[in-house]
């Protein structure tokens, strides 16, 4: 249904389906996708936070485990039969939605999360391109961000290959999926409105004998450091980034001036305190350790499965040898 487009497999793997609510949601990274996924799973009734303790993935915090299929309990579009996929993508009964965010705020958030905090994921490799600037044991956030902008403009394609830095136009492909709602998370109240829509769909879809349909409220799961963009980014850097994401401004009608007007031509260096810098290093070290454990577990599991498969094959052959044709496996 999504055709032979190069992005079709990615979209099918990424898009989440809540069959009871009749909702398809494409989680746009760095556009409140953690919050929205949790809201949908809660309303769908498939959310099982207690399973988070069994997930061997490498997220930054417990909130992030919502992205594990076993925790959110939602289906991926790629797991469904073609007939159901066709219905989901075309039926007017289905809510097909995604979220967007002002490109400059989004790229700043992606930098803060992926590169500054070193959250797990492919973007960690990009951290080598954007070294920290540290002066007297204090991280210079302004200079570090300027380093990122420089690296981004020289290696735009490399950055854009990562979902967190990819343009939203390419990420959500509105030309391939006919969304009937695109929620702009910068708009005040947008998430609250979405929560109301989802709760209403739950009520409409519930059986009259149900005690009470599932409700949700938007609760922003903030994992940033809360340092305003204007303290770190000057107009020149902003222009470089906005030009790189021009297609998003054109496609979704974001205003370039909205954020730009809050910025200054020059910003003074913004230093993290020595304690903040140490805490940041502790956080990175903890994330690295979490990654080590997850990777080690993956390697061991792969090995265990191989051993199990070998044992199964040996047992299978042995049983066949004894039961069916003894000469065949001699």
């Amino acid at each position: 249904m999504l055709g032979n487009d190069r992005d079709a497999p990615r979209l099918a793997r990424t898009a989440l389906v809540a069959p009871r609510l009749r909702v398809l949601y494409l989680p746009t990274t760095k556009a409140a996708c953690t919050t929205i996924t949790k809201m949908i799973a809660q309303v769908e009734g498939s959310y099982q936070p207690e399973l988070a303790d069994r997930v061997v993935t490498n997220p930054l915090s417990p909130n992030q485990t919502i992205h594990a299929a076993s925790v959110n309990g939602l289906r991926r579009l790629s797991q469904l039969p073609p007939r159901q996929v066709r219905e989901i993508l075309t039926s007017p009964d289905w809510l097909r939605f995604t979220s967007t965010r002002n490109p400059l705020s989004r790229v700043y958030s992606a930098w803060g999360n992926r590169l500054l905090l070193r959250a797990p994921g492919h973007a960690r490799r990009l951290a080598d391109l954007t070294p920290d600037v540290v002066d007297n044991n204090q991280l210079d956030l302004t200079a570090t961000f300027a380093n990122f902008v420089q690296a981004f403009s020289s290696n735009t394609e490399q950055f854009m290959n990562d979902h967190h830095f990819m343009t939203q136009t390419r990420f959500i492909r509105p030309d391939l999926i006919s969304y009937n709602s695109i929620v702009c998370v910068d708009v005040p109240g947008a998430l609250t409105e979405l929560a109301t829509v989802l709760s209403a769909r739950s009520a409409a879809g519930s059986h009259p004998t149900d005690a009470s349909p599932n409700q949700t409220a938007s609760q922003r799961l903030n994992e940033g450091l809360g340092i305003p963009l204007a303290l770190v980014c000057d107009i020149t850097s902003a222009d470089i980034l906005m030009n790189a994401y021009q297609v998003d401004y054109d496609t979704f009608g974001f205003s370039r001036d909205e954020v730009r007007s809050t910025l200054s031509p020059r910003v003074s260096p913004y230093f993290l305190s020595a304690t903040e810098t140490r805490l940041l290093h502790q956080l990175r070290a903890a994330i690295q350790r979490s990654l080590d454990i997850a990777n080690s577990s993956r390697v061991r599991q792969r090995l265990s499965f191989r051993v199990m498969r070998l044992m199964y094959a040996v047992l299978h052959k042995a049983s066949l040898r004894h039961i069916a044709r003894p000469q065949r496996y001699m």
Partner: protein, 313 residues
């Protein structure tokens, strides 16, 4: 000679002829790194293979696969006897001023929530918040009160156990007792190890402190409580009772610092969960359940256990 249970953590490096009793929160991470490096038993390749819930890579040195040192409990009585009496052996233990050690333990176990064995400790010494920020001075004071009123609970965590319980000169005749918070305390140990191993052993900082000075957080009243709890340490080792300000200006973390503390706590919580889950997936029971599910999935032509949740759990 037999070694009491409490000394089972004591390690030896036979080639260097060094015995070391690690005292938690007295540079034991740094010393184990140096000792393993000097003894040539350090295996850094093992670090990424471990599933243990250590908060940082540097903490994996406490795993025997990484440090490779010999636990004294694994030696014969004759070998132990020689180690404990021979002049050729260095019998090393480290100490730290109890107030400074308690602050370090509080910061690590309570403030940062580094995988504590005793959950009650976090409940007994909550964060004191001021306008959404952590008041370090008030929080540390509440901790000291809790330590005095619920000493038995805190003593379940080895990080809070008095040093006089761990380092018992009556059982082991230590000929090198080093106070690590004195200038060049760790440096002395590095020199000894360099000399014995003919390698250049440099003390590495494995600093997990957030760098807030003790004097800005600890009042005289708080220090007095800690001195009272750890009286046995003062009596046994003759620590000096440093004076603190009676009413220091409260040290309150910034919003960003508070947010970073929250993020570190969450990350450490995840490490514990991931480690537990990873170890569970290594069990034979998990393997058998998975094989059974795979068979049932095949028999039911994909009807049973076909969702991600069903496949894994």
């Amino acid at each position: 000679m037999t070694i009491p249970t409490l000394h089972h953590a004591t390690l030896v490096a036979p080639r260097l002829k060094v015995l070391y009793t690690p005292t938690l929160k007295a540079a034991c991470t740094a010393i184990k790194w140096m000792l393993a490096e000097a003894a040539g038993t350090l295996d850094t390749d093992a670090i990424t293979r471990l599933l243990a819930a250590n908060a940082h890579r540097s903490q994996t040195i406490h795993n025997p696969r990484v440090h490779g040192l010999t636990p004294i409990s694994s030696l014969s009585a004759r070998e132990i006897d020689e180690i404990l009496t021979s002049d050729e052996w260095v019998r090393l233990a480290t100490l730290r001023n109890p107030v400074s050690r308690s602050y370090s333990a509080w910061e690590n176990r309570v403030l940062m929530r580094v995988s504590s064995h005793v959950r009650d400790i976090e409940i007994l010494s909550p964060d004191i918040m001021v306008d959404g920020r952590i008041d370090m001075t008030a929080s540390f004071s509440v901790f000291a009160e809790a330590l005095r009123n619920h000493t038995d609970v805190f003593m379940r965590d080895p990080h809070f156990v008095p040093q006089s319980t761990v380092v018992q000169p009556a059982i082991i005749d230590y000929n090198m007792l080093v106070q690590v918070d004195k200038p060049d305390g760790v440096g002395q140990i590095a020199s000894m190890l360099s000399e014995r191993s003919s390698k250049t052993i440099v003390p590495q900082r494995h600093n997990e402190s957030i760098g807030v000075p003790l004097r800005q957080v600890c009042s005289e009243a708080t220090a007095a409580i800690i001195r009272q709890v750890y009286q046995s340490d003062y009596t046994t080792f003759g620590f000096t009772a440093d004076a603190f300000e009676h009413s220091p200006e409260h040290y309150v973390l910034s919003r960003t610092e508070t947010q970073l503390v929250t993020l570190v706590r969450q990350s450490i919580e995840r490490i514990t969960s991931v480690s537990r889950a990873a170890q569970a997936k290594m069990s034979a029971r998990y393997g058998i359940v998975q094989v059974r599910k795979a068979l049932l999935r095949k028999l039911s032509l994909g009807y049973w256990y076909s969702t991600p949740r069903g496949m894994n759990w």
